[in-house]
Subunit: 481 residues, 2 copies
Amino acid sequence: MKLSIILVILYITCAWVKSNTEDPPPPPYEEFYYMQTLDHFNFYNKGSFPQRYLVSDTYWTRPTGPICESPVLFYTGNEGDIVWFYENSQFVTNVLAKEMGALLVFAEHRFYGETMPFGNSSSLPENIGYLTSEQALADYAQLIPAVLSDLGGSHCPVLAVGGSYGGMLASWFRMKYPNIIDGALAASAPILYFLGTNANSEGFNEIATIDFAETSSEGTCATRIHSAFNEITQMSNTQNGLNVLTKTFSLCEELTELSDLINWLEAAITYMAMADYPYPANFLEPMPGNPINVSCSLLAKETDNIQGLVQVMNVYFNSSGQAGQCNNVSVYTTGALGSDGWDYQACTEMVMPISANGVQDFFPAAPWSLSQLTQYCQQTWQVTPNPNWITTYYQGQDLSQTSNIIFSNGVLDPWRAGGVVSNDGGNDIITIIIDGGAHHLDLRMPNSADPTAVTNARVLETKYLMQFAQEASFKKQLKSK
Amino acid sequence: MKLSIILVILYITCAWVKSNTEDPPPPPYEEFYYMQTLDHFNFYNKGSFPQRYLVSDTYWTRPTGPICESPVLFYTGNEGDIVWFYENSQFVTNVLAKEMGALLVFAEHRFYGETMPFGNSSSLPENIGYLTSEQALADYAQLIPAVLSDLGGSHCPVLAVGGSYGGMLASWFRMKYPNIIDGALAASAPILYFLGTNANSEGFNEIATIDFAETSSEGTCATRIHSAFNEITQMSNTQNGLNVLTKTFSLCEELTELSDLINWLEAAITYMAMADYPYPANFLEPMPGNPINVSCSLLAKETDNIQGLVQVMNVYFNSSGQAGQCNNVSVYTTGALGSDGWDYQACTEMVMPISANGVQDFFPAAPWSLSQLTQYCQQTWQVTPNPNWITTYYQGQDLSQTSNIIFSNGVLDPWRAGGVVSNDGGNDIITIIIDGGAHHLDLRMPNSADPTAVTNARVLETKYLMQFAQEASFKKQLKSK
């Protein structure tokens, strides 16, 4: 049970890969702490905690009067160390900031990185209750005026930027606090991957499957992975079969539960789809550029389907099969992310129903189960998930009452299934589909191997963000007269 | 100190006068309880409480299919018993509901009326912390889909309606939850009476003063009340003066603090301005129609200014000066409202800076003091007011990102000083100024004595609410196709 939850964590976070070593470094930043309100919705709870945020004024055109035209690019920190996000969003830090003459402010999300309201005890159920997206947005809403006031630029346009869960926060920030946020870039933000929307809960796994299928015109790679899963499932019926699987996948411990292996394989495959970048990128172990193409080529060289799947896993885990090394089926990632935090969020409001049907996707059929999730969450965190709260509190499917949000989604990215991919009538809701793009590729440093679509997307994003900033600046000037 | 806080309570609540006995009764309703989440922003807090709400389907055109065109009129309950609001908003219950074929849902605000999350212990500081407008709106957002689902009409347009603080909630509900609320009528909602907006903190007392001044072309009534306050202040310098004042105002207890008398007089005067309705209405004791005109006529018959002020007070308190009766300077109202609740709200987020300057208004100068308020609130509730939170969490002055809200304000109503009286560029933000109208006169039962302006206002309000409902119904139909 634990594994399927961890899977959800991974899905949303693990694409934060390290930047290429050849990339120029991001501009220098200063680290600050703001004494933040612990509970914005209960005045009797008087707690506060130091919230970390990073500021870089390297490219900032400092305003000379009360009105400034150069915006603040505010990164709505998500589930991890904010320095990590700062170092991995170089389109924002190195390109956008420079072109716009913008001030960079990267705020760390409560209960992640150094921003632990209860220090080492932050993960205790009674403490982690203060971890919600609503409290996090209220943090940001309170932080921004304070930062602007410190910098003497209280009338600057403020644009929210984020990727993945950070992108969800960026778009929600604009929806809920249009008085503070003038526009947003929400990259690969699956804000519709919740019950009660038109999103297809099977879409995540379908897209991952298509990514593998499209490496050849016949879809052979995907078909053979599908067969491999079927064969694995059959083998697991006997003790001998489990023993063979243990050896085949070089597992450190004897396999006893099929689901442990399946979840581990699924995590690696969907991760590879999310991080299917066109150049080498480092995560755990280095992955080559276009890892799906690479892994499907290796698979093609094997006549046995399961051996082919082992090759696919090798590309992701890299170390598998090497002398003296073995694979731990409960380890999908470095653990550098705040997995406790995301596990808790997935157990409360971030209830994203991902299922596999084994027909449109190559995984063993696995319907999403709220009751299983509930059982896990009650045992682990003493909380009950509310799958309807996000679409109640935020706007859900209906974006007609918001504006100035760019939603970008990569065609290769499984999370596109929960993204906003068409404008449903809202004002200045820009949707960008990036052909050949994986999970928020657009936020990464431009690279010569980039598909044309992401280069075009960045041009559009820059154009619209500039337009949002100019409109906001103009409005603020009108008001101050 | 306590008094000035109670004054704030009064200001916002006490205009909920009983309906005229000649008015037709409101349509019958059923009373329900919904098991509501105690803390919408902390999943570890598992408490819940029964929230009362009233439903009347007397005039409802029940939908025959999944789409319904007749709306839900949802009253965003404010600081009092919801039955009281139901019985005193007859434009909504008797007129609007009938014309629109609407379902009426009146929801009680947490910590008021019968909706006490902790029963008799609800006012303990550690319990009353759960009283905030954000939690109340989240209650309503969660309640509405549940009610609609019970009634089988899940696609009905929903319009929020409210007066005073209830009007603030109605407009904020539309701003924050446009996915749930399709439009709002916010009657006499002073959403701008906060720091950091363009609202004039002295406006409240200025308008009350003007109401009295305009009873004659020379403004004599206001001038003489001003003089009376000056004379009272002078008299209070001696023990003999205090004794005379005690007798003059028929006080039950010997006057020791001038401020007790001043606060009591100010409450009565501003209350009269708020409830300056054109027909007799009952509150505490019956008040005549146009009570300011009546009281100024009585004042005019007195040569002594202070005796004139006594006459003004008589119109409000009515009982003053009668045999065997005396006035208690700490009693302004029946106490039927949940004054603990509002006192707490005024000590936390509902920090409305009302001041008197003694020049544009006839009161003794009294600048608003955050430090005094803070001292009181820390002593009484162990909380510190945050005067900036409301304009941070809600949209403050900038309504450009919302739509479909009608803000109505009466010219006679002191709260107009904090109302939205002109459209600052938002879409379908309708502002209606009601000449000769007091505090949300428009929500009351139409009356032959009504000024033309309120009759016209109700026609406009009906027209726009119908338009909001039709647009919403049309959109919902489009989406369901």
